[in-house]
């Protein structure tokens, strides 16, 4: 974990400051009269974990939906590797190198675990319809490659032992890992995790934190979560949302001490005591 001072230099420094991999600038979303997001900016740097926190209804998931192209912002821009993304469509994300897990997991219940993860690896398929129709060697080799990729992602997420099971038959924490494996199988450069800790026990959350830190060797991560322990320990940088606005941004240390944050979120969480899961 970097100390606030180091983080500060990295943030402002000119020498090693990497360009953001992904940035949202001035994003505003209105649903009818309700402003869900108001001029929100966020930048994910390569190989860093960026946390987005805030009370329920602060706009965290809406922000994710904007980042994935499910919600079109009324104002603001998104950029990927320094280039503005004009027309973001969800199905393009995987090809760009962005993966996302869903709050509701969204596992394919009619597919086995390995097939679920193979769908994640699908962007690497090479053979076409005709070779699939005639089961040509091309298509068989392609299937083997996809299965190997899936296997790799499943091993990493620790679900390789469940390959032939259907997701519905598995305990919730295992299902979450399957969803994670599916996202990892797309081999993203940026991974968006929507509430990865929800429904997990204390030990599992700790494990998850270590796992996410490990991912920074090859990708950037943006995670949305309620669990302060996870966010504080796993994130390099945190953006705090409240009522659709950014109330604070910075390193975990800075955010923790920010009075606005204590007021908006931590104070509330403290009042509620150990209510979370």
């Amino acid at each position: 974990m970097t100390s606030p001072g180091v983080s500060e230099t990295r943030y402002l420094g000119t020498r090693t400051d990497p360009a953001p991999l992904f940035a949202a600038t001035g994003v505003t979303v209105r649903f009818g009269g309700l402003t869900a997001l108001d001029d929100v900016s966020l930048a994910a740097l390569p190989r860093e974990v960026h946390g987005v926190i805030g009370p329920n209804g602060a706009g965290k998931t809406t922000l994710f939906n904007v980042c994935c192209g499910f919600v079109r912002p009324d104002a603001g821009t998104l950029s990927w590797r320094g280039r503005e993304i004009g027309d973001l469509r969800p199905h393009r994300l995987a090809g760009m190198g962005i993966a996302r897990t869903l709050q509701g997991l969204g596992l394919f219940r009619g597919l086995t675990v390995v097939e679920n993860v193979m769908v994640g690896a699908d962007r690497f398929h090479r053979s076409g319809f005709l070779s699939g129709l005639f089961a040509l060697p091309r298509s068989t080799a392609d299937e083997r490659r996809l299965r190997e990729r899936a296997w790799h992602a499943m091993s990493e997420a620790g679900v390789a032992g469940y390959a032939a099971a259907y997701p519905g038959s598995l305990p919730y924490p295992v299902q979450k890992r399957v969803a994670l494996a599916r996202a990892l199988a797309t081999e993203p450069d940026l991974l968006l995790l929507d509430e990865p800790a929800s429904g997990l026990g204390h030990d599992e959350i700790e494990e998850l934190g270590a796992f996410v830190r490990g991912l920074t060797e090859r990708m950037a991560v943006i995670l949305v979560d309620h669990h302060m322990d996870l966010v504080m320990s796993a994130c390099d940088r945190i953006t705090v949302l409240d009522f659709g606005r950014v109330v604070a941004a910075g390193s975990p240390g800075e955010v923790r001490d920010d009075p606005a944050v204590i007021d908006a979120y931590l104070g509330e969480a403290a009042d509620r005591g150990g209510e979370h899961d």
Partner: protein, 373 residues
Amino acid sequence: MSAPTAAARRFLPSSVFGRNLLTVLVALVAVVLVLELTSPFRNSQLATMSYYAIAAVGLTVLTGLNGQISLGHGALMAVGAYTTGLLLENEAMPFPVAMLAAMVVTAVAGIVVGAAAARLHGPYLAGATLALAVGVPGIAIYFDGLLGGEQGLRISSPTPPDWFADAMYFLTAGEMTSARYLAYIGWGTLLLVVLLLANLIAGRYGRIWRAVRDDEIAAELAGVRLGRMRVLAFVVSAACAGLAGAVLAMVVRLAAPSGFTIVLSLALLTAVVVGGLGSLGGALLGSALLVFLPPAVTDIGTDLGMSGVQAAQLAPFVYGVVLVVVMLAAPGGVMGIVRRLRHAGRRARGRGGPSRPAAGKQGVGATDQGGRG
């Protein structure tokens, strides 16, 4: 996996195509035996079953694997049948060419319908395809000069060429009647269609279709283009319906609006559901039921001393009862029951032993919804 099956597995080809081809070749031998050993009446029943089955396997891919309901497959069969009828007029071309053309024309119709259908769900999709089923026969009546109106198009069925009759006589010493020849055409087409669909289902397309059916958003996030995959499923399904229509035209020797009413579309859908949605084997079973159950019930009725009319009315009643019972007792259809029994057996055998071996090597074709009964 028990020892005998493991031993048997060693002799089976390891590739998906090899396994599917082997199954189809075994089925082909069975088909030849059955067609040679049965009467011309049974032959023509089997020919009827073949075109129902061709359409049903296509429909089960669309509805069972991709989750799109279609009440318009009877209309798509009409497109195939009329195309075949027009092309076979005055024996303008050999029948395989006419069948291929019917398939292509229907597939193109499938692109149009599928593109519209890809944006619709549930009851809206059912409504849109229902319109197709109601509307298309009307086209034949409107263009009565070309399409024969209410009377329909008479179709000159292909007759068995000498070399085929000779070859089959050499093989089986059976005579090649016209009904038998048509049944061969139907079943040959059916086996080919099943082989190709089994390939598709076992591979990437089957997997992606099912993924789109189960969770659109997750599939989209994995980079799947939903619309394109839905249209593809519709086109594949329509191509099957086109071929089915072509076989129907030749077997029935007629393409008339009365043959392609909504009843046909519903019959196909019930066949697919009774057999077990998404399973090719289930679609075959369902089609067999569709063709063989009513006459069997009528026979039983006459044996019980009913009058001809009473016995004939018994058939749709029993079919309806079967449908209701299947839906209540086994919503997964016949294949659903088979699957459940197999699963229970496996669990009973696995109890007490160590955890099941990692199933990583298991082919996608071995999954229950990809398998062929």
